[in-house]
Amino acid sequence: MRIGIDVGGTHTDAVLLDNANILASVKAPTSKDVVTGVISALTNILQGQQVDTIDAVMIGTTQFTNAVVERRQLAEVAAIRIGLPSGVDIPPMTAWPDDIADAIGRHTYMIDGGFLYDGWPLAELNNQQIQGVIDDIKEKNITNVAIAAAFSPMNAQPEHAVAEAIKAQIPNVRITLSYQMGRLGILERENAAILNASLLPFADIVVSAFQNALKDQGLSCPMFISQNDGTLMNAKFVRQYPALTFASGPTNSLRGASQLTGLKNAIVVDIGGTTSDIGVLQEGFPRESNMVIEVGGVRTNFRMPDIQAVAMGGGSHISSDGNKIGPQSVGHQLLQKGLIFGGETLTATDIAVAHANLDIGDHAKVATLPSELVKRATDNMHELLDRHIDMMKPNSEPVPVILVGGGSVLISEDLKTASEIIRPENAAVANAIGAAIAQIGGEAEQFVSYREVSRDDAISMVTQKARQSAIEAGADANSLTVVDIEETAIPYMDDGNTRVRVKVIGEVAKLVKQEAN
């Protein structure tokens, strides 16, 4: 059996799963320190269970995204770019918002090295320059470092060489290499590495807290944390790559909705306290955004689900004429500020309760709302959602719409865009289910010349690298399957030069062993 936990802004949810069967689910408020909420969810879900029957715990958390967005818990980072003589006018952290650049410090360095697209050296590494950087880092007492080299996804040797030189002289240093953070596009990859490096100390705190919480409950099974593409990382991996958790929440919600409904192709609307997040399920996985993704105002190249956020949630303010929905929301204070909970603010939840006679809060508080107001606000909420669903739909045909999240009670009527509306049982804990069912993925990317290497050999070479990265993350080698092969030729160039990206996915090794037993 496995436990899935979702740490959201307002609630911490937990589910207990035996294969795909949901045995129990609980919801607890997210505590300020996060861990207390996790412990309370764990305690509740484990009631009456033998702890030794639990094979794995999967956790999805928004803490790292929030740290970046709120500019807190961020460590100072030395950002080293290996790419001179190219890029001299665009140093690391160019075009970052001032507040986050200040929080992380502006310790940027540029040195010779890196490669060209065809594998020719851009420049040789220069030991004197490297020593200069190390001396400065030592003097500034910086212990978190991000290194990015030109074309490192094809050849990471310069990043490794500089990292080794630093480690030799600064033993307690923590280093993030950009090639491990993803794709081509040095500025975005470097930004991702810098954000990741700045989160390393916080990642230790978070992972240790989760591990202690598990230990306190008597759980000795492995723990995994969700990443943005719907796959899992083990604890050791999270301590190194906390930034890969960005946007795992929406991904888990989509995957959970697919699991709950058995639908592989649908629109999923996760209605929370402040926003409704609309995503698209394609073959059981979120449609990925192919736009550059900003996290806290910083451009990155993380793989993110394509999500349209609409400012409508259970806590959204409703104007007194019912015409304006949000964007302000009482958020997690709904339980204090909403009319039905004895507060003073007219919220979307109050309208839904008045309109559909929901069994939430105190009905008497909304009994006197004018019926035109309730009708108009209800219509406006449905229209707002319809309009945004229509934008996300893959074609003009109506599609199944899956409603999840605590705010899904807001939608009580038909939606024009929907062929059907599905409200899965346990929808409120879809994120936790998405976390629990996740597999372990691995990805690799390389530029190859099909003139020098045959296409089959190239794909198998990249696949091998992707498999290796999945196994390192805790996947069972035998269960790994290739889920995506992407080949992109470089425009204007020789026909032979192609960027090959392979993604593999497989079961958690521990669970496979259990099933075998």
Partner: protein, 361 residues
């Protein structure tokens, strides 16, 4: 007119619109241009008729695969070194620099070079849009020789070309680009003020700024934007502007053939699903047809933009499911002459169809 960082956002937005899907992502070139203008100050931009007939002018821009610039970041020096080397080799001072094409990133390279050297740029370009090959530039069509030309790579290596015709020159610079990290900056097609005035598509830099301002100031749906676009284009060398369709991308596929991104896209109207627009792509959006009926073709401009905001979408970013608007804009009259069409008509891109001006369709 002085170009400053204040106009840069508008210039880039307008230039991406005129790029008709090509020209590459402008993010990195824009960052570099902003750095150059900040470091060296504003750039003087002159109108073509301000140049003396015996003035000495050359074109400057990037050649290669924009994709590699994602890793091999361009620098200010790469735009400056070839200008200095060119002046040294020819023994003549340049009176102005001019752009290959207004569409996309190549509208910015002359500005970077001009900021650092103090040489003015000319308000205009050799395409009035983006097109993939050097012989499609008005300068080449008007018989300006491509060389002497100098190319500069990321390391400052300089290569000199002496080549008789632009098509051969195009092949040579492509192969140099490939062996120099995928992207080079070239200064080429030197000409006199008189030659430039006969060949240039005038006013396109200032027009891009104006167009960008219109797009930004009236951000909104395609239908709401259309009258603003028609207004700004009707007072320009482009003239006609039409909204061909508002709808959803139901198909998009491209593959690389002979160094180009070749393929097509289909867009189905929101209102009437039987109405479907087919777009042929070869790096740029080149031909638009509906049920086999021609709606617009190169050299007229076909622009695909986000439906909600009218932000232009590059061909590499266009994808299934996007809600888009397709605009068609008349090309400058120059490209409708027989000799210009010999270089840029649909058949030059391998399409078996005769060019018909947008207004006649």
């Amino acid at each position: 007119m002085q170009l400053t960082n204040e106009q840069l956002d508008d210039l880039v937005l307008g230039a991406v619109f005129l790029a008709t899907g090509g020209g590459g992502d402008p993010f990195v070139p824009q960052l570099l241009t902003a750095q150059a203008l900040k470091r060296f100050g504003s750039v003087k931009m002159i109108q073509p008729d301000e140049l003396a007939n015996d003035a000495f002018v050359a074109c400057i821009g990037g050649v290669g695969a924009p994709t590699v610039s994602l890793e091999l970041l361009p620098s200010i020096a790469e735009s400056v070194a070839p200008v200095k080397a060119f002046e040294q080799q020819t023994g003549k001072k340049l009176d102005a620099l001019v752009s290959f094409e207004i569409g996309g990133a190549n509208s910015l390279v002359p500005i970077i070079a001009a900021a650092a050297t103090g040489i003015p740029i000319v308000d205009g370009d050799g395409m009035g849009r983006a097109l993939p090959e050097a012989q499609m530039m008005t300068y080449a069509i008007e018989g300006v020789k491509p060389t002497p030309a100098i190319a500069c790579d990321y390391e400052g290596n300089l290569t000199t070309f002496t080549t008789g015709n632009t098509a051969t020159y195009e092949r040579h610079i492509r192969s140099l680009a490939m062996s120099s990290g995928g992207m080079i900056t070239t200064i080429e097609h030197p000409m006199s003020g008189a030659q430039l005035k006969a060949a240039i598509i005038p006013g396109t830099v200032s027009f891009s700024i104006e167009l960008g301002r219109v797009l930004r100031g009236n951000r909104g749906t395609a239908e709401a934007m259309l009258p603003h676009l028609q207004e700004v284009f009707s007072h320009s060398i482009y003239g006609e502007c039409r909204l061909l369709i508002s709808g959803k991308v139901t198909d998009k596929a491209t593959r690389i053939v002979g160094g180009y991104d070749i393929g097509s896209a289909a867009i189905v109207a929101f209102e009437d699903e039987s109405e479907q627009l087919h777009i042929d792509i070869k790096n740029e959006y080149l031909v638009a047809t509906q049920n086999g009926e021609l709606k617009a073709s190169v050299p007229d401009l076909i622009v695909i933009a986000d439906y909600e905001t009218c932000t232009p979408i590059n061909a590499e970013r266009l994808r299934y499911g996007q809600r888009v608007a397709v605009f068609a804009v008349g090309c400058p009259d120059y490209f409708r002459s027989e000799k210009a069409l010999a270089a840029v008509a649909p058949k030059c891109f391998g399409f078996d169809l005769e060019y018909k001006p947008l207004e006649s369709l």
